[in-house]
């Protein structure tokens, strides 16, 4: 419990910093540190696979891609000219936040055994995945066996992204 409060403060600070800072390269680096703090939060609540992906993709690969993109731009494109915030946003967004907090009051508490998420199909996976697939990591068993169609389409999405980037950016390249 002691480490959660500083982590959440760090998350809010890095998220606000990434939005407020003028220089885009600084914003990208702050966003990387935000992803790393978020990975620590995931690891703290026990979602180790999500934490791994967040640390590797969010803090590692996405930061490198953002930086490589920024190096292709001009100097003046890396500075943000931010228009003044309209008063509707100043009034409306806190109200929306209050509404979300009000809705979050009805959510089941973390680790609640009677919540719908942990009574419907999760017990089936947890109890039978080892006998079904000889795979001790339930997340891998769900991703690659029970829900392998989703993973296949996800792989197609990644493949399409690579093809699109090559078609758009490698003009005249070999």
């Amino acid at each position: 419990m002691a480490i959660e409060i500083p982590l959440l403060i760090l998350l809010v600070l890095t998220a606000a910093g990434a939005i407020l800072v003028k220089d885009l390269i600084a914003a990208v680096l702050i966003l990387g540190s935000y992803s790393f703090a978020l990975a620590l939060v995931w690891a703290l609540v026990g979602a180790v696979d999500v934490a791994f992906v967040e640390a590797v993709v969010g803090a590692g690969l996405a930061t490198v891609f953002f930086l490589l993109t920024l190096f292709r731009t001009n100097e003046k494109d890396r500075q943000i000219r931010r228009p003044p915030v309209p008063w509707t946003a100043i009034v409306g967004l806190p109200l929306l936040g209050l509404l979300l907090l009000f809705g979050a009051g009805d959510l089941p508490t973390f680790g609640d055994v009677n919540s719908p998420a942990s009574t419907h199909i999760s017990p089936v996976y947890l109890e039978s995945s080892l006998e079904d697939t000889r795979t001790p990591n339930v997340v891998t068993a769900v991703l690659m066996d029970y829900r392998s169609f989703d993973t296949l389409v996800e792989t197609i999405v990644i493949f399409t992204a690579g093809i699109a980037c090559a078609l758009l950016l490698r003009k005249g390249g070999s």
């Binding site: 690969l61 000889r134 001790p136 990591n137 068993a141 690659m144 493949f159």
Partner: protein, 153 residues
Amino acid sequence: MIQPHDSAIVRTLGRIIIPVSQLFGIYVLMFGQYGPGGGFVGGVVFAASMIMAILIFGVDSTDSNLARKILHGDGVGLLIFAGVGGLCLIGGGQFLNYSYLQIPNLDEPSQHFVGILLTQIGVAVDVAVTGVSIAISLSFEEDVTRSEEASNG
């Protein structure tokens, strides 16, 4: 095009860190069924190591040979994944139902184990190739006009 880095510290440390991170990527891929990780993360770690080789030694260097060669594997990962599904179809079952993988001397859970391992390798290859491909695409110069003249002339 990305020029090689001229700092001796970066180049020397890169020579040590790149093989270690490649080994770590393969470890994460192969032990994804026992611990955290799996095909996606293993592929990303492997791609990150090769992007590091490109950033440190440049695209044209012999040290980033592997990164340039791996570009020829575009689509192979997807082919492995969908091919496992096709093998299940050939075996008489549904697409991606690993119980119908025709592997002799294996009971049904072990067939699922092999199916998960093969599809994970497919995802890892796909993600690694795509990561390196996007990095190389982004590192091309934006000098479009000159290259268009070159291609037209």
